[in-house]
């Protein structure tokens, strides 16, 4: 009896069909109707609108949570960009910390306002991190990853030992943002610029080269492309994204200190990418928007918080190994139905 039941199940399979929309067929980019336009715009516009509304309507505590979530989403995007270009980083804290300290130093010692420190720390952080990692661009996979893991920890110890930039005390009393709302909207704007801008880059032929390096760097070299130049450029983009996040946090907390090089800033982007789904930039950002608020919600649970958090992480990665974003995208773009196999 049991055997018959299973054989019955095997005769059915799930069929997946792409939703019919003209714009999906490679070349034709003519939108035929409002429905089609909406079909494309909705998944992009919805999160933007939702985040704006949340930011305006949420209680003040959750507004703060949203800001730090957005910052982690930026770090997750930075991680995914580097990983998509063949550089798996274990040290997003490096980008974050360098950006944070640059902003702090410029504000504390030179008295520059956030309007100047933010762009300067973003660009400067990108340049510094790229130069720091330039000697190891030839390393691949785990070897590159190990180096990125060690660098932020090393810088942390150097600051502690040499007592530069306030040493263990850090730099406090930095200039805050003019208005809390201005703060919220600045992070949001940065998130959308990074997300949509970098996604556009990855979809271009330039992005193809980066993906090619991730897939098979020797084949890219044999195509007369200097992979180290492309890797350095991708690294700069990723580092600048992370450095902005750090610089922003410096002014948001009005403080910068050694914790900006902490392991949290390296681990959470990776966890976000694992939950959200790799290789799309949007996936890891979505992952951050799941994990950071989740961690806040569990805060009331005291000691067991980390355990429950870990269990939920396992549930996510085992239940949806492809990532939440890939799952949602599949559901959105394809019909699914059960069909009989064979006769």
């Amino acid at each position: 009896m049991a055997a018959q039941d299973t054989s019955k199940q095997v005769t059915r399979r799930r069929e997946r069909l792409d939703r019919g929309i003209k714009v999906r067929s490679e070349d034709i980019y003519a939108l035929n109707s409002w429905r089609e336009a909406l079909y494309l715009l909705a998944p992009r516009a919805l999160p933007v609108v939702a985040l704006v509304l949340l930011q305006l309507l949420a209680p003040e505590y959750w507004q703060r949570v949203l800001i730090s979530t957005t910052v982690f989403a930026l770090l997750a995007i930075s991680w995914d960009l580097a990983a998509s270009s063949g550089m798996v980083c274990l040290g997003q804290a490096l980008f974050f910390g360098v950006g944070a300290y640059l902003a702090g130093i410029m504000n504390h010692y030179l008295g520059l306002p956030p309007g100047l420190t933010l762009p300067l720390a973003t660009l400067g952080g990108g340049v510094i991190c790229t130069v720091l990692l330039l000697p190891v661009l030839r390393l691949r996979g785990i070897y590159f990853a190990m180096f990125t893991l060690i660098l932020p920890l090393m810088i942390e110890r150097i600051i502690e030992a040499t007592k530069v930039f306030g040493g263990t005390e850090g730099l406090s009393g930095l200039t805050p943002f003019a208005h809390p709302l201005w703060e919220s909207f600045l992070t949001m704007a940065a998130l959308w610029v990074a997300l949509f801008g970098l996604r556009r880059i990855m979809a271009s032929d330039y992005g193809l080269v980066l993906k090619g390096i991730n897939d098979n760097d020797r084949a890219v070299m044999s195509a007369a492309l200097n992979i180290y130049r492309y890797k350095a450029q991708a690294l700069f983009l990723a580092a600048a994204t992370g450095a902005f996040a750090g610089a922003f946090m410096t002014h948001s907390y009005r403080f910068v200190g050694m914790p900006v090089f902490a392991l949290d800033y390296s681990i959470l982007p990776i966890a976000s990418a694992a939950v959200g789904g790799l290789g799309t930039l949007a996936g890891p950002a979505l992952g951050a928007f799941i994990l950071v608020p989740l961690s806040e919600m569990l805060r009331g649970l005291g000691g067991l918080r980390i355990v429950i958090y870990a269990v939920l992480l396992v549930v996510f990665t085992v239940g949806l190994p492809e990532g939440v974003f890939h799952y949602l995208r599949r559901k959105y773009t394809q019909f699914e139905r059960w069909t009989e196999v064979g006769k």
Binding site: D205, L208, V209, R218, V220, M221, S222, A223, L225, G279
Partner: protein, 260 residues
Amino acid sequence: MTEPAPQPPRDEIILAVEGLSKRFGGVTAVDDVSFNVKQGELLGVIGPNGSGKTTLVNLITGFLQPSTGRVSLKGQDITGGPPYRTAELGLARTFQMVKPFYQLPAFKNVVVALFSPRVKRLAGGAYGDRDAVAKDLLEEVGFERDSWVINKQASVLPHGYLKRLELARCLALRPEVLVLDELFSGLSLAEVASLVPVIEKLMVQGMTIIMVEHRLKELFRIADRVLVLNFGQKIAEGVPAEVMAQPKVRGAYLGSESED
């Protein structure tokens, strides 16, 4: 009809390899190999397994640093790469173990190569429509134009298609010299038979080709000259029929007669 590009005179040496050696610890994989390749000829490189054929290819194309020796392309020293410079100067290669970009659609594999500065330089500063050019190239190596295959992710393509994809990616660079590392390996007789005309057409266009190959029968039909390697050393070089008649070549492939 497009005007055929003016060909440099044949017989001109385009690639010169002098005293090339590569030692891995105690093993000498390539041992003092010298040869020249003339403009427009097809040179076959053969030899038993482990005789150093692929190492030789890696040395010529800059993927490995030789222990001693020199490689020059049109008089320019290209010894020891880096590989992207070697390719930039016009020496393109395929890999024996295919190296496609598995995540990308098949034709986008070729677009990556079309993104290289060499392509822009040869086209006079403009890239043109890379997608269209990529599809032209894929048609040239035997893909059906506008078939579903070229839009498929490379990871789901069968081996025979991936070999053609490798070739198309090389041709995208409009190379001066094409190095094919066992292009026919793992292909069925029918697949090889359909690929041979592609290579013959390249030869007619004046392409200089080095073919490392195990499929001797097919190779000898198209090769102008062959070079035989055994234990890293060049043991023979010349017209296929004459080379294969030499006892030491037969010995390398079939076992030496003196050992009986």
